[in-house]
């Protein structure tokens, strides 16, 4: 038993080392000659093309917005799948939560966390951040609630159906904004060319569809990750689940 195991480890080590050497050989570090290709266009054209100040947000939500739709759909798929895997379980208190003082201070803290999350989402086109980051911060509120109040509390406040609605509406909003471009501008996810206002760079209302798409993604990710976390917390030993069905 001992020796095949060691042999397997040795094989894995040898394979990993060989792969690493091969990958290292393939790295090309050429002396820097300025940014070329599409990236140059993104850097120099963002202000004119989109009106956003954050170039990464402009790439994510305008130039390559289709990638972002796909990326958000991966989370959507995962959430749907985890909910499918843990379907029809009872909700259960995992613990009674922490002390009164912690609960009170948490209650004071939550509005500020939510405010921070909203500002990350809404200012996504101006500063680092955006729908994904803000949505994740919102989902962290779920985790804090679970830790501090015990897992039954959170389900009583925000029902899973509300989260489901928010998640799906966020996804639909993204597609519908894309379809506006298809109707007016001739291409899916067209931003400025489809008539969305560019605004003044650096202002809150600028960048055409970018803030809207950020909000859509924030809804989708925030509700989705919160559902995901909660689906994994709520499960418990189910005595009816012991016999595996055949075929």
């Amino acid at each position: 038993m001992k020796s095949p195991r060691n042999l397997q480890r040795l094989g894995a080590l040898a394979l990993s080392l060989a792969l690493g050497w091969w990958l290292w050989q393939g790295v090309t570090i050429s002396p820097f000659q300025g940014i070329t290709g599409p990236a140059a266009r993104y850097i120099h054209g963002t202000a004119r093309d989109t009106g956003a100040a954050n170039v990464v947000a402009a790439i994510l939500f305008d130039y390559r917005g289709f990638d972002t739709l796909g990326e958000a759909s991966v989370i959507y798929t995962t959430v749907c799948g985890v909910a499918l895997l843990f379907a029809k379980r009872r909700y259960r208190r995992s613990s009674h939560g922490l002390s009164f003082i912690v609960k009170r201070s948490m209650a004071l803290l939550v509005p500020f966390i939510l405010l921070y999350a909203s500002s990350i989402i809404v200012m996504g086109h101006l500063s680092p951040g955006g729908g994904f980051q803000g949505g994740s911060v919102m989902a962290t509120v779920t985790i804090l609630f679970c830790v501090i109040y015990g897992s039954s509390f959170e389900a009583a406040r925000v029902s899973p159906k509300v989260k489901e609605t928010i998640e799906s509406s966020g996804a639909l909003l993204f597609v519908l904004i894309g379809l506006v471009g298809l109707v007016t501008g001739g291409a899916f996810l067209t931003n400025i060319a489809a008539g969305f206002p560019r605004g003044t760079m650096g202002q809150l209302f600028s960048g055409g569809t970018i803030p809207l798409l950020n909000i859509a993604v924030g809804m989708k990710v925030g509700a989705g990750l919160s559902t995901l976390f909660y689906s994994m917390v709520k499960i418990l030993e189910d005595p009816t689940e012991s016999s595996p069905p055949e075929v």
Binding site: N54, P128, G129, G130, F132, Q133, S136, V137, M232, V233
Partner: protein, 88 residues
Amino acid sequence: MSITFFAFLAAFLIVTALTASEARDMLSAVIALSVFGILMAIIFVILQAPDVALTQAIINSGLVTSLFLVAYSQTRKRGDDPDRENDR
């Protein structure tokens, strides 16, 4: 940012990765993974990628670590969690 500091961070990153891979105690491995995520976020800041660093800090070291902990606590044997005993 000096090269020495960057090299130190990189070495530390590899050490945490090895710890996450080799630690016998699963809880230590998960904590090492969380530290790995935070170090990675610092390296992203040095590489001038604030967006990526923010996402990495929130998602990889926060959310994924908490999911790991949830999964770890769910997969321990029944009865060795004092909280659950008090519940009944």
